[in-house]
Symmetry: C2
Subunit: 219 residues, 2 copies
DNA sequence: TCCCTTCTTTGATCCAAATCAATTGCGGTG
DNA sequence: CACCGCAATTGATTTGGATCAAAGAAGGGA
């Protein structure tokens, strides 16, 4: 994106903060904005009346939150941690898209990536065991932290923060809190992961984690 | 789409037939074409080495099969029934997209719909019971057949063909063949569905089916 | 028509994960 | 510091769906 584009963006945007648990976008209301995540983690969820919940997507910086070319929205977006976003009124953003068609192309590509991720997760939800599910999730995070930390190397030790509580991990993996906890202690006992604190994880050997995650975790 | 566009398309396309079980697109090979489904049902699947399989998408006429702006492809596409498609070489199709940007916009919207469908299914796979899963699938088909049959009315009786065998239904719902079969007989016993033949279904009262499907089946 | 194969249903048993139930740990706050 | 409320672990028990095992249907080819 060019500098000119960026300055245009800053003219029509404004910062906004959300704290853990706050609803950013609701099932019921039309979406009036596009948002770029600056910091924190946002969860997209679907819910059934009796309280059952499924996280259908996680968003990290610098992901986008919003619905291109559609006013209604079938998900909840909730702050999974304290979150800071940069918001654009929908109309202004779409005007910008008209001016810079490349932006639209980028949004399209991002949507395709999201579709692949969703389908990857369908395999996990439908066919993987609890142990494989938890391992796959940790692997996802481990890989993410690797990319952020050092794009070119492939170190075998990684340390990262869990951006979710156990309850959210359960909702992402289609499990219960208790099962997630038990699987984590199993992985710990097997020496595949270490935990200095409930939210801090070390993976001494990623290959070992890949093993128990079962395949299909290409990215 | 204009007549001119259509004639352009027919110049660069050709018909092709596949019979049940045939692989149309593989995991391993780059995608070289775009295809419009004329008749039959195509399943998109992801597989683990030990044989576990998950159907991540079903395609019916007049859906598109292919990957815009990406050569590699993380799924298998397999004929779930006898299938007839209309194929376009990838380069030719993308040239067409350049000429008619509206086409690209349509593809984008379709991708967004697929994403919503995938996430809807994530809720089903992660949080619904076997009974709810089977009912949800039948509901999906019932609604589809309603749309095809009479776009404007809302009759309460529907009859339609199951486009999948039990094994495929199981792979779509994250269940086993046996469980699918049992749930079908339960629904039959409860009078919620009727089956003249293993592949032909009647739904006397869609509202009753909606009830057991649990919500979240908006479309 | 009768095999032969493949699909489907049904039954009996088992097991992974859910549920129920404490207990422990931990961060804030008066 | 001690208290409170929430998050996480750990244990005991239950259960929904998987697995194992047969026994029907339904093609479909010779």
């Amino acid at each position: 994106m060019t500098d000119e584009q960026l300055s245009r963006l800053s003219e029509i945007s404004h910062r906004k903060k959300y704290s853990v648990g706050q609803v950013i976008m609701s099932d019921q209301e039309p979406v009036t904005f596009f948002a770029n995540i600056i910091s924190g983690t946002i969860k997209l969820t679907k819910t059934i009346a009796d309280g059952r919940q499924q996280i259908v997507g996680l968003l990290f910086p610098p992901d986008f939150l919003g619905r291109a070319f559609s006013r209604n929205n079938p998900y909840f977006a909730e702050a999974a941690s304290d979150v800071e976003v940069c918001m654009f009124p929908n109309e202004a953003f779409e005007r910008l898209i008209d001016v810079y068609p490349d932006l639209k192309h980028r949004l399209f590509e991002r949507t395709l990536d999201e579709l692949d991720a969703a389908r990857e997760w369908m395999l996990l939800l439908g066919r993987k065991t609890a142990e494989e599910k938890v391992a796959s999730f940790l692997l996802l995070l481990a890989r993410r932290s690797l990319v952020v930390a050092c794009p070119n190397e492939k170190p075998s030790l990684t340390r990262f923060e869990l951006p979710l509580r156990r309850a959210d991990m359960a909702d992402y993996l289609g499990l219960t809190i208790e099962t997630v906890s038990r699987q984590l202690t199993r992985l710990k006992a097997a020496g595949i992961v270490g935990m200095s604190d409930t939210r801090t994880l070390e993976v001494p050997d990623i290959a070992a984690l890949v093993d128990v995650a079962g395949q299909g975790m290409a990215l």
